[in-house]
């Protein structure tokens, strides 16, 4: 029995893939409970079974931050769930709410004006950078590399500052609404964004030297937690974790939303599939997001201002609202939005968050509330990777693998 489970040295494609039976135990195998109060600040528990100090089985015990998003989404109307779903990953707020808004837009048959689309992309990319930097910071804590924690947390503040100037909140922007966005860019924003982009470009070079090419870090990450391409595809893991394994998949290319098909950027794919490749993907993505921000900001600066909400909303605006939109760039909401109805139908909205693809399945029965909102977040899909990436490694590789998967429990538990 135990011989079946003990596969040391990671999973390889030629071993074939099968479900790891969790409850099988050998007599000489010990169980270690890690979490939910543990140094890595992940609010989850991993139960590992170790033979000596080699992990034989891992059983992610999640659900410590399950806040019943799907149920609450069914009773709060159509616009109130936007701040609600945002709380799944507050440091990636626009990315995580935009697919829901797009699903609702699909059902309603409205479309955001072009300027609003650019604004959404702008905030999405700012959030993506901030989310990756947050991931690095936590990764630094996991690896005991506190310089990385301090650097990434500090540089993340630059992008949080940008987002704050744009939306009025540090993290929880609640920015997109069905048919538009809530704020236009303030005065002086383009220059600020350009300065931030320039700053971050320089910093990325230093990141490479102090973190990615640091021999100590490399020796802890290289060939650790290898997820081969076929395994990644069968497990359905998403985002940088999949792209680190050679999966050529990014929702921004597969189903280009907003204005992503008009922008010039590259989706980095690495083929190694180890912890280092996943980290490299994130660094490259930051670099590409900086490029996108530059392009979007230039577009926003060049083009004249236009209403940032859909025509159907704008024509119902009283004069006061129009004046506020012009003078402050603040799109007001209308009272009927709290109790609006959405035509019956079913739609899937998806987008690429910092951690990967998020899917909202929204079903409407024509009423004031969604009939069913099913959310599949990237971390929820990545959770299964723990089960397959950990066995065969030493216990001390667990922090490296955990950190490289960039798992965020509130997002996974919903």
């Amino acid at each position: 029995m135990s011989g079946e489970v003990r596969v040391y040295g990671g999973w390889r494609d030629d071993l074939g893939l099968k479900v790891i039976p969790t409850r099988r135990l050998a007599r000489d195998v010990y169980e270690v409970f890690i979490g939910p109060q543990h140094p890595g600040s992940g609010h989850m528990r991993i139960i590992i079974r170790v033979d000596g100090d080699v992990i034989v089985e891992a059983d992610p015990d999640i659900g410590y931050v399950h806040r019943t998003m799907e149920k609450l989404g069914e009773i709060r109307g159509w616009i109130k769930p936007i701040p609600l779903f945002e709380r799944m990953a507050i440091h990636d707020a626009c990315n995580i709410t935009l697919p829901y808004v797009r699903a609702v837009e699909k059902l309603m048959g409205v479309e955001a004006p072009l300027r609003a689309k650019y604004l959404r992309v702008l905030l999405c990319e700012i959030n993506r950078i901030a989310a990756h930097l947050y991931g690095f910071a936590i990764f630094g804590v996991f690896l005991g590399h506190s310089t990385m924690y301090m650097w990434a947390m500090g540089d993340r503040e630059v992008f949080i500052q940008l987002a704050e100037e744009l939306t009025g909140a540090r993290l929880t922007h609640s920015y997109p609404i069905p048919g538009g966005v809530r704020r236009d860019i303030p005065q002086g924003f383009p220059d600020m964004a350009r300065r931030a982009v320039k700053y971050m470009r320089k910093r990325l070079e230093e990141y490479r030297k102090i973190f990615l090419d640091n021999p100590v870090i490399r020796s802890r990450l290289e060939d650790v937690g290898v997820i081969p391409k076929r395994l990644a595809a069968e497990l359905g893991i998403v985002g940088p974790n999949a792209r680190g394994s050679g999966i050529q998949y990014d929702v921004r290319i597969i189903e280009p939303y907003e204005v992503y098909d008009e922008l010039d950027f590259e989706v980095p794919v690495y083929t190694e599939g180890d912890a280092l490749a996943r980290t490299y993907v994130r660094v490259e993505e930051i670099r590409q997001s900086l490029r996108i921000i530059e392009q979007v900001v230039e577009w926003l600066e060049k083009k004249p201002r236009e209403p940032i909400v859909d025509e159907s909303i704008y024509k119902k605006y009283p004069p006061l609202h129009k004046k506020i939109l012009e003078s402050q760039g603040r799109a007001k909401l209308l009272p009927w939005m709290a109790t609006m109805k959405v035509p019956a139908g079913r739609a899937i909205g998806r987008g690429e968050t910092g951690r990967g693809e998020i899917i909202y399945y929204v079903e409407s029965d024509g009423g004031m509330n969604p009939y069913r909102v099913r959310i599949v977040t990237p971390s929820a899909r990545n959770a299964i990777a723990f089960k397959y990436a950990l066995p065969g490694h030493r216990v001390m590789d667990l922090p490296a693998i955990y950190g490289s998967l960039d798992y965020f429990p509130p997002e996974a538990d919903r």
Binding site: D61, L72, L171
Partner: protein, 201 residues
């Protein structure tokens, strides 16, 4: 000392003697409170998504260490618990267990709307109010609160400790005179005892 129990060193007696000297003979209440206020060690327990802002508080821009507070891993070496957001039914057990492991005198800060009255999740079936689980000293509104708010909470807590002589009276009396000890309403760990998760083969 109780019969039949093994102690390594006589810690209880030593602690009592230290207390008698510090507070009884030398009357160093002020020193005790001052020292306690500037050595708040938050435990590394993240209950929910406010942890992103908590991490930012101890990052370079807001630098929580300037208040003498540094998050630490083991609950046995900490005396402050910051409830970072929602406490779910599954997490309540961990909160309570961590709180009980921390040495006296200890303090608690509730951070964010979810930790006060559930916030967005006020009617969720899986959310408990943290003040039902452990006694709270300072409440921070916001969702999530800004790092300055967390810093402000730490400053206010320090003032409270020094102004109301919280630490010294706690050490002397063995309990907090300004706050009733909150016993948890229910046994939040009950589910673990019956959980199929722990089923043995």
């Amino acid at each position: 000392m109780e019969e039949g129990k093994v102690y390594v060193g006589n810690l209880d007696v030593a602690a009592k003697r230290a207390r008698d000297i510090l507070l009884g003979k030398l009357k160093l209440e002020k020193v005790v409170d001052w020292a306690n206020a500037f050595s708040l060690w938050p435990v590394h327990l993240t209950t929910s998504c406010c942890s992103t802002e908590f991490a930012a508080t101890f990052g370079p821009r807001f630098d929580g260490e300037q208040f003498g507070a540094l998050p630490w891993v083991g609950p046995r070496q900490t005396n402050l618990i910051v409830i970072e957001g929602t406490v779910t039914r599954k997490m309540a057990c961990a909160v309570r267990v961590t709180w009980e492991q921390m040495p006296h005198p200890k303090y608690a800060i509730a951070m964010g709307a979810c930790a006060l009255d559930g916030g967005l999740f006020y009617n969720s079936y899986n959310v408990v109010r943290p003040w039902e689980v452990i006694p709270i000293d300072i409440y921070i509104p916001g969702c999530p609160p800004r790092p300055e708010s967390v810093a402000r909470a730490i400053v206010e807590l320090q003032r409270k400790i020094r102004g109301r002589r919280v630490a010294s009276s706690w050490i002397r009396e063995g309990w907090r005179p300004d706050r009733d000890y909150v016993a948890p309403k229910e046994d939040y760990c009950a589910w673990q005892k019956t959980s199929p998760l722990l089923e043995r083969v």
